[in-house]
C-alpha cells in the first residue's frame, strides 16, 4: 500500500523523509516517470504544494523556485521583466523545477545556453535522514564549496529530495526566426552544421528530424537575427512556417518507446545507420538529432518487441543509449553498461542514502 503526501514546506519534507524508514519516491509534474526502472516505494512525495517563488531579483537576473513550480509558471513570472530561464524541454506546463533538476533537463536551446546543470546556481536538498542541506548560492559566480547543484542535476531523486533551486536567467530575445532545410542526407546535415559554424553564425538550436529536415533557430536583437536568417537562407534554406518545432516536441514526448542516443556530432551517418533497425520496429517512428550536441531521440509505438530490443543492444555496441520510455512487455536494461566511475557513484548513493530508501533501483546500475 503506497501512501501519498503533498508537503507544503521544507520542514514538512524533512519530517517526512527523516521520520520513517519508508522507501520514498518523488513526483512533480509526472512527465518523466517512465525514466528508469520503476522504483518500489512505500511513500510518494508529491511536490505540487511546494509551488512558491521565494525570491526573484530581476536586476540580478536570479530566481529561486520551489520544487513544484512548473516551468511555464516560472517563465511567465520572469517574462514580465523580459527575462527567461533559457531551458526548453517538452511539456513546460507540467514539468516542475524539481523534476527538471532531477532529470537534468534540456531542450534544443542547449546548443547555446547549456542544460539545466549550466543554469542552476543553488539547490536545497532534503536528505534521506531529513537533514536539509544547501549548496551553491544566489550569485552566478561562486566557487565556495563543492558543487552540490551539479550533483543534484540528473540524480533522479536517488540522493535526496530537491526542495528548491536557484537559477541564472537570460534576457528574453527581442526576435526569433527558424530557417529549415529539407530532404537532407545524414552527411548533408553535418555539412550544413559545419557550414553555419564556418560562417560564424550562432544558432541557438540546430535540430534534424527524420527525412531529414534540419532547422536552425536564431534569436537575439532583431537586426542580428535578420542578418543571420538572410545568410542561412542563402545556403538554400527556407523560413520555417512554425511546423518544425512541434514535430520535434512530438518526438521527444510521444511514443510508447523512446530512446536517447549520444555520439559525436560528426557521427551522424553512423548513428543514422544504427537507428534504422529501431525505427523499423516502431510505428509512427521518428528520429530527432541535436546536431551540434550529438544527442538523438527515437520515439514511436512499439510493434516488434524483439526487433526493437535487438536494435537497442546492437546500437549499444557503438554508442551510449538510454531507454527513456518502454512498455512493460519490453525487457531491456534501461541505462546500459555501468561506467568505470561507477564505484564512486555507488559511494555517493551510500553516503547520501545509506539505507537505499530514495527511489531505490531507479538509477544506473540499480542505484
Amino acid at each position: 500500500m503506497t501512501t501519498v503526501h503533498s508537503p507544503s514546506s521544507i520542514e514538512e519534507c524533512s519530517a517526512l523523509l527523516g521520520g520513517s524508514d519508508d522507501r520514498i519516491g518523488f513526483v512533480g509534474g509526472g512527465t518523466e516517470l517512465d525514466l528508469g526502472p520503476p522504483a518500489v516505494v512505500d511513500t510518494i512525495v508529491r511536490t505540487e504544494r511546494l509551488a512558491r517563488i521565494p525570491d526573484y531579483a530581476p536586476a540580478d537576473m536570479v530566481i529561486v523556485a520551489e520544487a513544484g513550480v512548473t516551468l511555464a509558471q516560472l517563465q511567465s513570472t520572469v517574462r514580465e521583466q523580459r527575462q527567461m530561464l533559457a531551458l526548453d524541454p517538452p511539456n513546460p506546463e507540467r514539468a516542475t523545477v524539481g523534476g527538471l533538476v532531477a532529470t537534468g533537463a534540456y531542450g534544443p536551446r542547449r546548443a547555446r545556453y547549456g542544460a539545466i546543470r549550466d543554469l542552476i546556481i543553488g539547490v536545497t536538498m532534503v536528505r534521506a535522514d531529513g537533514v536539509v542541506a544547501r549548496g551553491g548560492g544566489k550569485v552566478v559566480k561562486n566557487v565556495a564549496g563543492f558543487d552540490l547543484p551539479k550533483v543534484a542535476c540528473g540524480s533522479l531523486g536517488t540522493l535526496g529530495m530537491i526542495a528548491n533551486a536557484t537559477f541564472r536567467l537570460h534576457p528574453l530575445p527581442e526576435a526569433e526566426a527558424t530557417v529549415r532545410f529539407d530532404s537532407l542526407t545524414p552527411e548533408g546535415v553535418f555539412a550544413l552544421v559545419k557550414r553555419a559554424r564556418d560562417a560564424q553564425l550562432e544558432p541557438s538550436s540546430a535540430v534534424a528530424i527524420s527525412g531529414y529536415s534540419l532547422a536552425f533557430r536564431f534569436e537575439g536583437f532583431a537586426k542580428g537575427v535578420e542578418q543571420q536568417t538572410e545568410r542561412m537562407l542563402a545556403f538554400g534554406g527556407e523560413r520555417d512556417d512554425g511546423s518544425f518545432w512541434p514535430r520535434h516536441v512530438a518526438v521527444r514526448s510521444g511514443g510508447t518507446l523512446r530512446v536517447r542516443i549520444a555520439a559525436l556530432p560528426s557521427q551522424m551517418v553512423e548513428v543514422d545507420k544504427a537507428m534504422a533497425p529501431l525505427l523499423a520496429a516502431l510505428r509512427n517512428a521518428s528520429f530527432a538529432w541535436y546536431a551540434t550536441l550529438g544527442l538523438g531521440f527515437v520515439s514511436g509505438d512499439l510493434d516488434d518487441v524483439d526487433g526493437a530490443t535487438g536494435a537497442i543492444l546492437a546500437a549499444r555496441r557503438s554508442f551510449s543509449l538510454i531507454v527513456e520510455r518502454a512498455p512493460d512487455e519490453m525487457r531491456v536494461d534501461v541505462w546500459g553498461p555501468k561506467p568505470n566511475s561507477f564505484p564512486i557513484m555507488e559511494q555517493l548513493k551510500l553516503r547520501f542514502d545509506p539505507r537505499r530508501r530514495l527511489n531505490p533501483g531507479r538509477f544506473v546500475g540499480g542505484l
Partner: protein, 482 residues
C-alpha cells in the same frame, strides 16, 4: 623524508624529477598566496598517468598525504603543501593530446597552460573561452581544480561549463573517466563534482575541453566616469537592456593609477572606468555596441574610447589583466580579495568598502568583474609597519563578510583553499558542509588528497568500521578524531 622512500619515488619519476633538497623544496612552499607556507616532504614531477598511479600507490603505502600543484598561481593557498606531504607537480604533463575541430573539443594534459590551447587552435578560428587573468602561466589542471573564471565568463560561463570530461587517478591508484567528448554519460554528474573541488578528490591526468568558434565580430570600448556610482549605473542599464556583454570590467581611481604606473597606458585620472567587450555576429554587435555606448553616456560617462586597432585593444586588456601586479607599483604589499555580491548591490557595497578603508586607515583599490558582481578589492599595506599586515588581513576579512551579508559569496573564482576555509561557515551550515563532505568521501575516503583545504574543520569520512586505520590527514597533524 627517509632516503629509502625518496629512492622509491625517484625510481618512478626519475631522479631529476624528484626534489628533496631543502633549499629546492622552498620553491614549492607556497602558491601565489605567499602569506601561507609549509615545506613538503618531497616534490615529484610525473610525466604520465601511469607515473601518477605509481606515485599515488607509493604515497598511500607510506601513509603520506598528496597535494597537487600546477603552476602555483592560485591565490587561496589551494596548492599550499601539508607539512611533509608528497607535492605532486603536474607541470611536466603538458601535451595537447587531441584536437577535434569538427566536434569542438580538445583533450589535454593537466599541465597545459590555459593560453596554449587557444594559441594552438586560433589558426583554425577556434578558442578556449575561460580566461583567468593568469592565463599566460596558469595550467588547465589548476583551472579545473579551482573552477577558474575570468573576464569573459559573464557570457560564456566558467571552467565547469567547458569541461566535458576528465581522466583521474583515485586514492587507491585506480584510473577512471568522468565524462568525455560524448555528452551525458549515464550516472551522476561526477565531472560537475570534480570541477572546483580544489584538488581534494583525485588527481586529474587528462581533461576534455569544449572549444568555441571565434565570434564574427568583437567591439571593445573603454569608458571613464566621475565615480564608481555612475560606472555601476552604466553596468545596470546595459544589463537591463538585454545585452549580455562578453566582458564588463570596472576599475576605480586607485586601480587606474596603479595600472598606469605599471603598464604606461594613457588612461585619464578619473573616478572609475569600464572596459567592455561585446561580441557575436556582425549585425548583432553593431546594435549592442551602439546601444551600450549610448547607455554608458546616459549613465554619465565622461569619455568613451574605442580602440583603433587590435594592438590598442590588446593594450587595454593587458592593462586590466595586469591590475593585481600593477598595485605593487603603488604599495609595498597588498592583499587580493575575491568576493561576490549581487550586481544590484555594487554601489552600496563599494560605499561600505570605502568606509571600511577609512576606518582601517588602509587604501583599497577595486578591480572587478562588474557584470557578475565579482569584486577584487586590493587592500594596500606596508609590511614594514608593525601590525599593518594583520590589519590588512582583518580588513579583507571584513569585506568578505560584507559580501556574504549582501547575499553573495566568499569566493567567485580564486577558491577557498587554505585561506578562506575559516569563512565557509559564513555561507554554509554544518549540515551543508557535512553534505559536501559526502562528495569528498565518495571519491577519497582516506582523505589522501589536499587534506585541510576547503572545509573549516577537518572532517573524516568515518567509514571502515572495525580495524582503525589512521588517515593521511591525521598523520600529517591537520586532523584529529573526536
Amino acid at each position: 623524508m627517509e632516503a629509502d622512500l625518496i629512492a622509491q619515488f625517484s625510481a618512478i619519476v626519475g631522479e631529476s624529477h624528484c626534489i628533496s633538497e631543502p633549499d629546492q623544496l622552498l620553491t614549492y612552499e607556497s602558491d601565489a598566496l605567499t602569506s601561507f607556507h609549509a615545506l613538503p616532504g618531497l616534490v615529484v614531477l610525473p610525466r604520465s598517468t601511469e607515473e601518477v598511479v605509481q606515485v599515488v600507490r607509493l604515497a598511500r603505502a607510506a601513509g603520506l598525504p598528496i597535494v597537487p600543484r600546477g603552476s602555483g598561481t592560485g591565490l587561496s593557498g589551494g596548492a599550499l603543501p601539508v607539512p611533509g606531504c608528497v607535492l605532486l607537480g603536474l607541470s611536466r604533463m603538458k601535451r595537447i593530446l587531441e584536437v577535434d575541430l569538427d566536434n569542438q573539443w580538445v583533450r589535454v594534459e593537466p599541465g597545459v597552460i590555459n593560453l596554449e590551447i587557444t594559441k594552438r587552435i586560433a589558426p583554425h578560428g577556434y578558442y578556449y573561452a575561460p580566461d583567468p587573468s593568469s592565463q599566460q602561466v596558469c595550467t588547465i589542471g589548476g583551472n579545473v581544480s579551482e573552477n577558474s573564471g575570468g573576464a569573459h565568463c559573464l557570457k560564456y560561463g566558467f571552467t565547469t561549463n567547458h569541461v566535458l570530461g576528465a581522466r583521474v587517478v583515485l586514492g587507491d591508484g585506480s584510473v577512471v573517466d568522468l565524462g568525455g567528448p560524448v555528452q551525458d554519460p549515464p550516472g551522476y554528474d561526477l565531472r560537475g563534482a570534480l570541477v572546483g573541488s580544489e584538488g581534494t578528490l583525485c588527481i586529474v591526468t587528462e581533461v576534455v575541453l569544449r572549444i568555441l568558434r571565434k565570434p564574427e565580430a568583437t567591439r571593445t570600448f573603454f569608458a571613464t566616469f566621475p565615480s564608481t556610482t555612475e560606472a555601476g549605473n552604466a553596468v545596470s542599464y546595459i544589463i537591463a537592456a538585454g545585452i549580455v556583454p562578453a566582458a564588463i570590467e570596472m576599475m576605480d581611481r586607485l586601480a587606474i593609477v596603479a595600472i598606469k604606473a605599471a603598464t604606461g597606458v594613457d588612461w585619464p585620472d578619473v573616478g572609475a572606468a569600464l572596459l567592455m567587450d561585446v561580441d557575436g555576429t556582425a549585425a548583432e554587435v553593431e546594435h549592442t555596441a551602439a546601444e551600450a555606448t549610448e547607455l554608458a553616456r546616459k549613465a554619465g560617462a565622461i569619455e568613451i574610447r574605442i580602440p583603433r586597432d587590435a594592438a590598442e585593444r590588446e593594450t587595454m586588456w593587458r592593462g586590466r589583466k595586469s591590475a593585481f601586479a600593477a598595485v605593487g607599483r603603488i604599495s609595498p604589499n597588498y592583499v587580493v580579495q575575491d568576493g561576490v555580491i549581487p550586481r544590484s548591490e555594487i554601489a552600496r557595497v563599494l560605499e561600505e568598502i570605502a568606509r571600511i578603508s577609512n576606518e582601517a586607515g588602509l587604501r583599497i583599490a577595486n578591480v572587478f568583474h562588474a557584470g557578475d558582481g565579482n569584486l577584487h578589492p586590493l587592500v594596500l599595506y606596508d609590511a614594514a609597519v608593525p601590525g599593518q599586515e594583520a590589519l590588512a588581513e582583518e580588513t579583507a576579512g571584513h569585506i568578505l563578510k560584507l559580501c556574504v551579508r549582501a547575499g553573495g559569496s566568499i569566493t567567485g573564482e580564486h577558491g577557498v583553499g587554505a585561506d578562506k576555509a575559516p569563512y565557509m561557515t559564513e555561507m554554509f551550515s554544518d549540515d551543508d558542509l557535512a553534505t559536501m563532505n559526502f562528495v569528498r568521501c565518495s571519491f577519497d575516503p582516506e582523505m589522501r588528497f589536499n587534506p585541510g583545504k576547503v572545509f573549516p574543520t577537518p572532517r573524516l569520512c568515518g567509514d571502515k568500521p572495525g580495524k582503525y586505520v589512521p588517515h593521511a590527514a591525521e598523520l600529517a597533524g591537520v586532523a584529529g578524531r573526536g
